[in-house]
Assembly symmetry: C2
Amino acid sequence: MELHFLGTGSAFPSPKRSSSCTALRHDKGVWLFDCGEGSQIQLQKSTLKPGRIKKIFITHLHGDHLFGLPGLMCTIGQNGAAVLKPHIDLYGPIGLRNFICMSLTLSYSNLPYTFSVHEVMIPSYEEFHSTNHVDKYDPEFWNKLKNLSKIELPLHPNEIAATKIYTNQQNIFEICYDDDLTVLAGVLQHTVPCIGYVIQEDNIPGTLNVKLLKDIGITPGPVYGQIKSGKGVTLPCGKIVNPQDYIGEERKGRKLVILGDTYDSTGMLDIAMNADVLVQESTNENADQEKSIQHGHSTAGMAGEFASKIFAQKLILTHFSQRYRSLDYEIAEETVDVLVKQAKETFSHTVIAAEDLLVVPVPLAAR
Amino acid sequence: MELHFLGTGSAFPSPKRSSSCTALRHDKGVWLFDCGEGSQIQLQKSTLKPGRIKKIFITHLHGDHLFGLPGLMCTIGQNGAAVLKPHIDLYGPIGLRNFICMSLTLSYSNLPYTFSVHEVMIPSYEEFHSTNHVDKYDPEFWNKLKNLSKIELPLHPNEIAATKIYTNQQNIFEICYDDDLTVLAGVLQHTVPCIGYVIQEDNIPGTLNVKLLKDIGITPGPVYGQIKSGKGVTLPCGKIVNPQDYIGEERKGRKLVILGDTYDSTGMLDIAMNADVLVQESTNENADQEKSIQHGHSTAGMAGEFASKIFAQKLILTHFSQRYRSLDYEIAEETVDVLVKQAKETFSHTVIAAEDLLVVPVPLAAR
């Protein structure tokens, strides 16, 4: 498992930091989290293959997390490039489907694969427009937007209908289970409806201790499969083989938490607990906390605090204001180093500042 | 006047060539022609100021000419950057409005300026789906698309309604007149409805010959304005000043032709005549002409031919297949040099291959 940071800038893409896009590469494919403008260009610069993308998760519908999606979908499989699976699943807040369908339809896009949009029904959606605390959106503006976004578009020719995803009784969205990974989502507080994702890998069964089996005279064959599946086996000599004695310890699956933009992530506290990796936006430094919250964003200190609360093993900061330079810039005080230091004040484990095209491996925990 | 080539690649953006976007910088602002994904990033790399953009013209709705538009519109004027005029006019084929309104609405975009979308009613639009000659779009696919794209969305909160533009009796679209520039459009043959634009500058009045006026004793004052405006003036001594004797020759305004994707541009022959500059796509080389036409595109030879037919002074090739390297690449045979040479076989004046961020001045014709 690896995390590939394709875009790490906030608000708009720049030549230094592209818009939000984080890829999770695992054994069975590539999953994207957010897809800001330029993500398909970043993908070309990375070692990832567009044809391996199977799922795309969107945290919220702000343009810097969304506007790269139609272009990316058109380019996947273009010029006969191999597509891993001829179907792509998209997940994201209600409205995502209309955006995708309208964009792909009006651009006459005929895709070499099918797609489904699984819309997440954030409960506060209807009330969001009135409770929103950022004054630049006046109620009249919101009402006009709301009317426009309620249109239900018919299916795009390449689209397969999907059901909407509602919260369960614990206010959690059960997003999907695929490729041995369970995905949950929880609501984040931002200026617009927003969610964060939790990716929980299944535990990995222990491996068969072939040496021990050979020592007692059992040679490779169908019996190995029986033992591995946990069935007791009686040998011709009458000896009963207890599978547990020959199977190594089960290993704990990895847990990743990838948040959308937020000034308050307490809604995800329970499902994010004990993450191996937390990816959290850290748009601003602590001194700008008031302004940051007004715009719905976290500071480095807030990210560190949340990482501590959920007992994360590693915190990766991303979605930086374009004013922060990368670590190799000559004046350290103008780089994301400032943010890493502030996050470390509230979180005692590893803190990493993402850079465009940075790859962070996510290994299994040490035994 | 300068042409800034922000994106010169076809089909999809790459790290080497961004998607289609050509900017015309003139005394009174910046006009964009097409806006593929990544155009706002290219704009940041250029010397152009996003806040000076006043008009955006779209040739057709394929993603590589369109998908950068919502992001660009969101970024213009962000962070309080100065906006030249708090209104932007967009022009393009019918469907453009739904794309923009849906994208800006679902992304909760509140702009610091107003905008209008002037949709161009290409007459063949309704029949396009059946007469389209590229077999990858089957009739059923087209019908589904058509149903989806017919929805009329209400106004976005920042939008000011605009009337649709229909052809005049000569099958020409009179797009706009502003900043001393008249814009016309004509229909191009492509796989989807597509237009090309003609930009005709007003003739530039001759300047006042101040030296001559001083020689006959007329000193600077309101009388200069009278003479410049062509009015005869009687001096206190009784002498009648004939304005024509003191005003230099009127200079011919420049004419630019910027085409969209096309395999046949004869529909624009009349309005494109005597262009100072023709910007035409040249996706492929002559050897690929059959395939190129099937996909609705021009070869270098076809571009040269059209330039000759309209008696253009200069041909700028753009929208290259991503396989053509830039001129500085070590193997000349793999660069756009191939295309320049082929265009020169059918056009005897200057041929230039565009590159991302290339700036081509468009001077007034020599006297």
